[in-house]
Symmetry: C2
Subunit: 394 residues, 2 copies
């Protein structure tokens, strides 16, 4: 981990505090009473971070948590923008990747935030993908029992998913995300310009979560995605609008159930199968990244729903077709190196956080945009379904 | 750290779920909306833990966090009581003392709670003094992003202070309690029988915090303490009533300001001076324990208030007299080995969490039960006061 401090330059000409000339970002409000906040989505938000933050709070200092990649790409830009608004900043960098969501790195980040003299009126900025957001968010929740957090997600996955909703955390030896906090951000700045730095594979993986929101409860959004997919991948207004619609979808679910007592579980569509696939592939990103696992998981949830007689098989085929058009996998046969044995898959599913009384909870669907929570699925029916999936060559 | 699991015995005769024959404990309600909870105070509450917990929630399992001392004294009793109500329990023991409030032990406790398969409908029980309460409370706040916490404080200090109000945390290299969470308990069971296991010094030290509540805003409680001190030290009804009154006092302040934005700072009466004394004596409990530091700190806050012309010097003398009657120190000269130099004391105070813009925030008083928050005390007046305190031989 590295740190570098930067004082706001007093030599620079003061920046105008209005957004004259800057394009107006899309704005999604997350209605959580005293913890309500806004998600701004658009081009060039990093350069305006200082003035946008100053509209909601008056911090004197910020700790900018990054990984080594986002430090190279974005840290100076954000630090300069804060400095121009009189906000002192320190950059705290961790190694990229899931392994940084550990107790050790959490300790390092907390201590670095304290060493940077971030007080209860100051803030922590998470500038990066899901790992940085989860780790920096949990540190922000913990230092001085909670300092304000600004999420600045730089991947499509983080912009539509992990930066919204307040879940933060690190991994336990016993499972992912088992230690953490619900800590809602004070503000989310999703700079769509950052997405131009993503690899095609990373962008596609994030798009799997976009499709997920449509599948949960937005059938018209799914139709729109079918029509606009190429535009979204090309960038521009359709991309920002897709991100905003996902944030609206997640915000509505989170506002109804902040701490996942009930319907927030709908957000796990595709994740019960997806987590099992990540498990049996050893969390090896060369084989399968999270979004790809979610894509296969969503398609499986629809095929399982069809197999249980809940959904029309044509709906499952429509889901697969859209994922394929986006270049995403949708079948176990698409996993490089194979998806393991029936035994390995069922064992991985039994470990899922959402298991109660030995039977997993699934998010199933009666059709596109008509998903629901199903507890107590019979293990025998699950095994039969997985057997047929393993036999299928997609 | 050690763990032991115990299954509820199915052979035992079922206990009556009513409290027939058991004395009715005192009950203090902490009004925090959706996070409201009750503090029960009385003899024999450990033996009734299972039935009392079952009145508010239906956990299947509990992780009982203890230190090696409270494991010996109380763990079996609580585990048996839970088992009789059908609640499986695992005992998680840490070493006694402040050094257990570390990142390392926090990780061990979180992992042990997860290994004990404590789910989001189960609970963590903190069975011990302030260290166990702070550590287990932070682990409970973090595991699965928050499981229910039952505080079972076993020291007078914990019963009147640290088990009430939701502050949890561990120590940073940069200061005490700098990393943690606000996590309100679901229930507090203060078994006054546990206090009979305390040394006379530990009991006295806890009594300093009892006096503090009276000094903040309860002048009649102070008169009552002057009249009942001997009875409180002897045990029985006066002791339980004193504890209940402290809980009422703290509950009122916490309900008005859960996250210490403002008046919750009144609870720091005696602590700005007290923390500096703990610092200059190297947190050496052989020389000074926290409650003794608070006793000296409260007396100093009243003498400082008198020196600033805010309070009648007779009020400061009355505070000193009561502390002396309880066997507590009230002057720097009472610190074994001395209270350090003027420079060491002022440096320690400048490090306090409550310093803003270089000048410490003090809790001062216009008289007994008439304390207030004073920001921006002039450093010169503080230095003059500390000089005179160091010259005084008490």
């Amino acid at each position: 981990m590295n740190e570098q401090a930067s004082e706001p330059s007093s030599e620079k000409a003061p920046e105008p505090s209005s957004n004259q000339g800057a394009p107006i970002p899309l704005c999604v409000k997350v209605e959580l009473g005293a913890r309500a906040y806004e998600i701004l989505i658009g081009q060039g938000l990093m350069e305006r971070a200082g003035t946008l933050i100053a509209e909601t709070s008056k911090p004197k200092a910020a700790a900018i948590v990054v990984d080594e990649n986002t430090r190279e790409l974005f840290a100076q830009r954000v630090s300069d923008a804060l400095g121009a608004s009189g906000i002192r900043s320190a950059v705290i960098a961790v190694k990229p990747g899931e392994r940084s969501k550990s107790y050790r790195v959490y300790e390092e980040v907390c201590e670095a935030i304290l060493a940077a003299k971030i007080g209860r009126d100051d803030l922590v900025i998470a500038l990066g993908g899901g790992v940085v957001g989860d780790l920096a968010g949990f540190a922000a929740a913990s230092v001085r029992r909670g300092v304000a957090l600004v999420q600045m997600p730089t991947t499509l996955l983080a912009q539509v998913d992990s930066s919204v909703g307040g879940k933060t955390g690190i991994n336990s030896a016993l499972g992912k995300n088992l230690v953490g906090a619900f800590h809602q951000p004070a503000l989310v700045l999703a700079d769509t310009g950052a997405l131009d730095t993503l690899s095609a594979r990373e962008f596609r993986a994030g798009y799997a979560e976009v499709v997920k929101y449509a599948l949960i409860d937005r059938p018209q959004f799914f139709e729109w995605l079918e029509a606009k997919r190429a535009e979204i991948f090309a960038g521009g207004a359709a991309r920002a609008e897709a991100i905003a619609e996902c944030c609206r979808a997640k915000a509505a679910i989170v506002a109804a159930d902040e701490t996942e007592a009930a319907e927030r579980a709908l957000l796990n569509l595709g994740h019960t199968f997806g987590h099992a696939l990540e498990n049996v592939t050893g969390y090896d990103n060369a084989r399968l990244v999270h979004g790809e696992a979610v894509a296969i998981g969503c398609a499986m949830a629809f095929r399982f729903s069809a197999a249980l007689g809940l959904a029309d098989p044509a709906e499952a085929r429509r889901v697969e077709a859209h994922l394929a058009e986006a270049g995403l996998p949708s079948r176990l046969a698409h996993v490089p190196g194979g998806a393991g044995s029936l035994e390995a898959l069922t064992a991985a599913m039994a470990q899922d956080k959402k298991v109660r009384d030995g039977t997993p909870t699934f998010i199933l669907a009666r059709g596109i945009g008509r998903s629901f929570i199903q507890r107590g699925v019979e293990l025998e029916r699950l095994r039969n379904f997985l057997s047929s999936e393993l036999r299928s060559n997609g």
